[in-house]
């Protein structure tokens, strides 16, 4: 087991070793440290591609993150020493302090290096963004903070090598920490190759390990920066552009390889926020023109993306709260109160004398009622009616009465007009809201439709790809069976060649010149007449018993398979001939070919190669048809997308027009309503001043003289 170089322990082996920290850290200051455990009570790892990290609290109470390496990294110790020295001189707040301990952990009798790091209480960037989607200001600060971190890395001449959401931690106070320095470049490492290639969703498709220098993070920095600006400008992008639990921010590997087919990049390129659009466009240029040597981040432009926009004026909110533009037109809440109007005359014109006379008659009647009650009662009633009628006429002829009537009629009209205007305004307002709402619904519909187009395209593409894979798999299987068939054919051909060799060897030996004991000229002639002249002419001798004579009969098995009995050749002589043949056959075997001649092998190989070529061609056809289908699908998608874009544009314009028209109507109805309100208020004021111009009041005036 130990012939091979000792490889790094696996994650599970570390988990096992860490169950006894007094042993595995024997003689170090981590001896006896407490390990954070999982639900099964075993050391709880956090694993990456090259290592597992464990949380340990040393006996002195200090908590560490201890990194145990599962894969060997070329010149790891040299790298870490250089990184450690370089970072020791810096004062950046994102640095996480560490010690590279070469005799770090004892696993199954061997010491392995560990990285003992300061424990940082923080969450990774993707989870932090998810938790802070409701706080665009915090997201904007994170973008800014990240921009500063990138600037600081550049000024220190450091390339991290694997900038990605898992290596950027955000602490509860919002500061950023950069972890995992396995792939870090510092100037002392110039000339080495990169130790790793970084996260696939953050790297240029062309990144290779030969690129190792202070600018290796440029591409990933763009990806992270654009993503942070994106979510800060529009947090809804997070859910729209990512699957839940996806291992990327707003952009992923597929977007870098094929920017034109990317829904995610497309969404950023067509975002309503013009500054975000501009940063996205610059990143698209990077992808198309210089993915392997991107420029630095556009920090000035970036800070404009999340700058607060000037607040646009709020729209009227219906009859409830009036918008500011209309408030100025309205009367104050406490309108002017006019002095009350009173009757100017006790009796109007002609009635001046009639009225007192009638009243006098009524008084007299009341007095006479004591004498003749029945007549008196009737008379009194009549007189009362007459006097009431006279008073009514008098009341109606008062000038104030007419004016009060006009004021009341005007008030009723104004009241009706106001309620009509309110209703109309309400309706217009509802309609306007509906227009706004349906524009919103249409937008959501279009968004969904756009996503569906992409989904359909992706689904169709997946079907095409699977069809190709199926065809390829079928061919692979055929190629595999071709290989084994080839082997079989080679073995079969060799056997044939060996048989031929034996036959031609045996054919060189005639029975005539063999000198087999007892086989004279006569028997040679007999044998020849039965087709046997050389050792190659028969394969063996079979014997059978003749029941009649109790003797054994010998028959020669010819190469044709038929059996012959040769007169004069009995059991004994046939046996001699057989052993003569066998010894010759034995010699033939020693000189027979043990492998195919290059020529024979080549002929066979050619035959199989032709079939392999045909199969390869089939495979190539499958790939070609996929390529064609892929282009067709892409074209369909682009066509559908642009058709949809046209529809959306038309719908947007129609919606904008309808909205403008409705808002105009709304403001007109608002003005009409306001006018009606004002008129109602005026009418109410006027009506209020006539509240004493009533019949009752008039009667009181006539009878008592009090106004």
């Amino acid at each position: 087991m130990d012939q091979r170089p000792r490889s790094q322990p696996s994650g599970a082996t570390y988990v096992e070793a860490l169950q006894n920290t007094s042993l595995c850290f024997r003689g170090t200051d981590l001896a006896g440290a407490a390990v954070t455990t999982d639900s099964l009570g075993r050391p709880r790892p956090i694993s990456g591609n090259f290592a597992s990290v464990f949380s340990l609290t040393a006996v002195d109470g200090v908590r560490y993150a201890v990194k145990c390496f599962t894969r060997e990294v070329q010149s790891q110790a040299v790298r870490y020493r250089a990184i450690s020295e370089h970072l020791a001189r810096s004062t950046y707040d994102w640095v996480v302090r560490f010690d590279y301990v070469e005799r770090g952990i004892l696993v199954e009798g061997h010491w392995f290096a560990i990285l003992r790091m300061e424990w940082v209480e923080a969450v990774n960037l993707a989870r932090w963004v998810e938790r802070n989607l409701g706080d665009p200001a915090a997201l904007a600060r994170a973008g800014e903070r990240f921009g500063r971190l990138v600037t600081e890395l550049a000024e220190a001449g450091i390339g991290h090598g694997d900038l990605q959401h898992g290596n950027l931690l955000v602490t509860p106070d919002g500061s950023m920490r950069l972890v995992d320095y396995d792939g870090m470049y510092v100037p002392a490492l110039a000339g080495m190759a990169a130790a790793e290639m970084g996260h696939r969703n953050y790297q240029s498709p062309g990144r290779s390990t030969t690129q190792f220098g202070p600018t290796i993070d440029r591409f990933s920095a763009w990806v992270i920066y654009l993503s942070l600006l994106g979510v800060a400008a529009d947090p809804s992008l997070w859910a729209r552009l990512r699957d839940q639990d996806a291992e990327h921010l707003l952009l992923a590997e597929a977007d870098f390889a094929d920017p034109d087919a990317s829904l995610r990049l497309g969404a950023l390129l067509s975002h309503p926020n013009p500054q975000l659009r501009e940063v996205a466009e610059r990143f698209r240029q990077v992808l198309v023109r210089q993915p392997d040597s991107p420029p630095g981040l556009p920090l000035a432009l970036g800070s404009a993306v999340t700058a607060p926009l000037p607040q646009s004026a709020p729209r009227p909110e219906g009859t409830g709260g009036l918008p500011p533009w209309i408030a100025g037109h309205l009367r104050q809440a406490n309108p002017v109160v006019l002095p009350p109007v009173t009757f100017s005359h006790r009796y109007p014109g002609v009635l001046r004398w009639t009225l007192p006379a009638v009243l006098l008659a009524w008084v007299l009647l009341v007095v006479s009622a004591a004498v003749v009650p029945a007549v008196a009662v009737g008379g009194a009633l009549l007189t009362a009616l007459a006097s009431a009628g006279v008073a009514l006429v008098a009341y109606l002829r008062q000038p104030e009465t007419a004016r009060a009537r006009t004021a009341r009629a005007e008030y009723n009209r104004a009241k009706w007009a106001e309620s009509t205007a309110a209703r109309v305004h309400g309706e217009v307002d509802d309609r306007t809201r509906q227009v706004v709402r349906s524009a919103g619904t249409a937008k959501a519909d279009h968004d969904r439709e756009r996503a569906n187009l992409q989904l359909e395209h992706d689904r169709a593409l997946a079907a095409v790809q699977r069809a190709t894979q199926r065809a390829v798999a079928k061919v692979e299987l055929d190629v595999r069976s071709l290989t084994s068939e080839h082997g079989l054919a080679e073995r079969a051909l060799l056997t044939t060649k060996q048989q031929e060799h034996t036959r031609s060897y045996l054919a060189r030996f005639t029975i005539k010149s063999a000198g087999v004991d007892g086989i004279g000229t006569t028997l040679v002639a007999n044998l020849r007449s039965h087709g046997i002249s050389t050792a190659a002419d028969f394969l063996e001798v079979e014997y059978s018993t003749n029941g009649q004579y109790q003797s054994r009969i010998a028959r020669f098995v010819l190469t044709s398979g038929s059996r012959v009995r040769v007169p004069g050749v009995g059991e004994v002589k046939a046996g001699r001939l057989d052993s003569w043949r066998l010894s010759l056959a034995h010699n033939a075997m020693r000189t027979q070919p043990t492998a195919l001649t290059p020529h024979d092998g080549q002929v066979l190989k050619n035959r199989f190669e032709q079939r392999a070529v045909a199969l390869k061609a089939e495979q190539a056809r499958a790939h070609e048809s996929e390529r064609v289908r892929r282009l067709e699908l892409r074209k369909t998608l682009v066509d559908q997308q642009s058709a949809l874009a046209n529809t959306v544009r038309a719908a947007d314009m129609a919606a904008a027009r309808a909205r403008a028209a409705h808002e105009r109507e709304l403001s007109e109805s608002k003005i009409a309503f306001e006018r009606a309100q004002r008129e109602l208020l005026d009418a109410a004021t006027l009506v209020g001043s006539y509240k004493d111009i009533t019949y009752q009041r008039y009667l009181r005036l006539v009878l008592t003289g009090t106004k």
């Binding site: 599970a12 999982d38 709880r44 694993s47 639990d245 291992e247 790809q465 699977r466 894979q469 299987l477």
Partner: protein
């Protein structure tokens, strides 16, 4: 390009272990320490399930990059999980990690780093118990695997292709497995066809043939059949195998013949080596 799909929580893949549980698995495996073949295979798979769980552990716990099925075939064909997961086929890895049937305490002597030996105890989660009983219905096991894989692919058409690892010690008792095996690689995702790797456990202590690239050196028709059923290793597994010291070529198959204890472990390690995890 094939065998390059990202394996993530939103695009997981699956492993299917087919474990021969026929009566002959009760015989000892070749090697210095006599151990039953069934014990070695069960231990190796239990160990591998721990290894996978550790590999996929992140801050918040084990991530479901993989779903795992362990299918036994012997007196019956079906899930070989015991305990909470008994009867389940494909189980998300986080659930596997949380639900071993039991956690055994295993004691062993290890070097103490100062020239001596010291006995330590460590916990060993167990999901699968060794079973040796009945025939070797390999054809049924393979078509069971095919149906699981096909269901998985319907739901995850863009995944890294599922990997089926068949561990056996004898000839199929329900017919020539070639036909059943050949339908498995015809199951495809957009990233390539399903991989079928085979391991034959030796009882004789003959030297193992690991990851061969032709059947020329194989002794008989039976071993050639298993070779023929095995998929070639995809490039990343090939380079990992090369790092582990195995000679490889384009035609190298995921196949081990006459495996001893060490090569069972290596077979599982190399055969479950997917693309980089994130």
């Amino acid at each position: 390009m094939t065998y390059a799909a990202e394996i993530s929580r939103s695009n997981p893949t699956c492993f299917l272990f087919l474990v021969d549980q026929s009566a002959s698995m009760g015989d000892p495996i070749g090697g210095e320490v006599p151990q039953r073949k069934a014990d070695v295979v069960a231990d190796a798979i239990n160990r591998l399930l721990t290894e996978l769980s550790v590999k996929c552990a992140k801050e918040e716990g084990v991530r479901d990059y993989f779903h795992v099925a362990v299918i036994g075939y012997g007196h019956a064909v079906g899930s070989a999980f015991t305990g909470t997961l008994a009867g389940r086929d494909l189980v998300p890895l986080s659930e596997v990690a949380e639900n071993p049937a039991r956690v055994e305490e295993r004691r062993k002597k290890v070097p103490d780093g100062a020239g001596g030996l010291v006995e330590t105890a460590s916990s060993f989660p167990v999901w699968l118990d060794p079973v040796a009983n009945g025939g070797t219905p390999m054809c049924r096991a393979l078509s069971y695997a095919e149906s699981l894989v096909s269901r998985w692919l319907a739901e995850h058409p863009g995944c890294f292709p599922p990997i089926v690892l068949n561990l056996t010690d004898g000839e199929s008792t329900d017919g020539d497995p070639t036909a059943a095996a050949s339908t498995i690689p015809l199951q495809v995702s957009t990233d390539g066809s399903v991989l079928l790797f085979n391991l034959h456990v030796s009882g004789a202590g003959a030297s193992p043939t690991t990851f061969p690239d032709s059947d020329a050196s194989l002794p008989d028709a039976y071993s050639r059949t298993l070779f023929g059923m095995s998929s070639p290793l995809p490039p990343h597994m090939r380079s990992y195998a090369a790092q582990q010291g195995f000679g490889t070529s384009d035609a190298t198959r995921g196949f081990v013949y006459n495996a001893d204890i060490a090569s069972v472990v290596q077979f599982l390690d190399i055969g479950t080596r997917a693309t980089d995890l994130r």
